[in-house]
Symmetry: C2
């Protein structure tokens, strides 16, 4: 079974981990958001791709929730001594990825080629495709501080400023890597991971050709709600819904994806929707969507593949 | 007293440390060899500048002899996992310098501007000037392996191949940073540190204008022999003399510098030369030149400044 999954960082990567365990071949293609990507002290950081690579290779830190297990921070201490910026943490081990990526991009390799190299080197069977081989930058429109580049909003300002909207700079010229649209066309199942709709999935959907491919796809499109009982498992998803004037719920998520969505998987504990059979014409399925353990991740993936 | 010192890495940096303690102002200018500089995984490494900065700021590792004290190597482990090169060690703390240098050079800053920033940030009073703001690459001509870029010869091949000569690629177009030649002209004393004449001092002398400025300088030029009793304190200096057909000794060192040298300082334990008063017309002075402790470094510097 050929499966395509659209994913952001941590939450999406958990399901991607489960799918990768179930499929264990390059029949699984994960399309990663790159709107969070930015250049920090000259190093190209791709947070969602990195999280996917670390999670799927089992190198991730499950406790901290991001980055590498057994990470150390000597570089950050030295950077501070030399007057560098300290609001964004680059771990000593994590740096290897950014240094090698920088070198490869400078040699003219594409982001997708570098990503392919990393996933093969680390023995990941799934294909991981950046949504674009050209730069797309998510900009957060805020009430208090105007336009904030994503990492400034998310890491430096800890998602505190009130959001009024999002821009995806460069997205009109974005270039999906070779094979991405074909993967969607040929898929037997398309999964929208339980990632933030605004900052993880919307940037992917905004890349020319991707939303249209989902609408045209013959495979069923199945989304897993990142909202359970009005809150996100992690991150500012619910806060963003509220600030934009919506009640955070699987219904609001389904509304965002309605032009291509066939099935919305909601959590069995969601009070409001777990008894619904349809949301605005979208079929509802109920499962345990909160993934605490690796077994949870695999079980949810298995459930989705069996639907 | 205005002092200019020409220096390579470890041995030269020891004396530079002593001079910096004695002078404690920017009346001391250290001209650093940059022929060893190279780009490793896209990061610009300037081994001699780095050694000078680390030594003069007291951050260096005296026991290992290079790099930073309390260095850690998590980056190297991660780099190896990702298929990176492991023959050249980049410490986690050391990386901060290279990442910031890379970023600054990419923004169009010169190597001398970046170096000035580092020395000021770390509170070093002496000026540290790269010999050139454009790239010069020392290439080692060897019998067994032909032409070897310096770090390949020195680090990867551990200086084992037999040397027949040296090339300093780019040196004809080398650009001494602003103030370098003026510093030599206005100096009251010029010191050639006990560095390797072939790979540390010769590249500096080959930069257009520098050798000529030393010949024309009104200040006395004082060299400290890196050879004591036919051997170098550290590194392949004596081996290189022998492979090039010379007997390693302060006499051979003085011969290399004879067109501008006024005083050769030799070690008190040197059997062959410690009784000589002149070497080929160059005045000989005798001191304890082997620097084991910080006190030794300061004592030698004090001796040189009193000459």
């Amino acid at each position: 079974m050929k499966v395509v999954a659209l994913s952001g960082g941590v939450g999406g990567a958990k399901l991607a981990f489960g799918l990768n365990r179930m499929i264990a071949s390059d029949d699984l293609t994960i399309i990663a958001n790159t709107g969070d990507d930015f250049c920090h002290h000259g190093l190209p950081v791709s947070p969602d791709i990195d999280t996917l690579i670390y999670t799927l290779s089992g190198l991730n830190d499950d406790v901290r929730g991001w980055g590498l297990r057994d990470e150390t921070w000597a570089f950050m201490g030295a950077l501070e001594k030399l007057g560098g910026e300290t609001w964004f943490n680059l771990g000593d081990r994590d740096l290897a990825m950014h240094v090698l990526r920088r070198e490869a991009l400078d040699k003219g390799q594409s982001l997708s080629t570098v990503t392919e190299y990393f996933r093969r080197t680390l023995g990941i069977s799934a294909r991981i495709l950046p949504m674009s081989d050209t730069s797309v930058s998510t900009i957060v429109e805020t009430v208090e501080e105007g336009l904030l580049p994503f990492q400034r909003y998310f890491v430096q300002r800890q998602s505190l400023p009130k959001v009024t909207g999002f821009r995806f700079e460069g997205v009109a010229q974005a270039l999906p890597p070779s094979g991405l649209l074909t993967a969607i066309q040929k898929a037997d199942r398309i999964v929208i991971c339980p990632s933030n709709p605004f900052i993880s999935i919307d940037p992917i959907l905004a890349v020319p050709g991707i939303r249209h491919s989902l609408i045209e796809a013959s495979a069923p499109v199945i989304a897993i709600s990142p909202i359970v009982n009005g809150e996100a498992i992690k991150g500012p998803t619910a806060k963003m819904f509220r600030e934009l004037g919506f009640t955070p719920s699987p219904i609001a998520v389904a509304e965002k994806y309605k032009d291509f969505l066939n099935v919305m998987v909601i959590d069995e504990t969601d009070v409001e929707t777990s008894n619904m059979s349809k949301i605005n014409g979208v079929e509802v399925e109920v499962a345990q969507t909160i993934m605490r353990t690796d077994a949870d991740k695999v079980a949810l993936a298995e459930y989705i593949l069996r639907l």
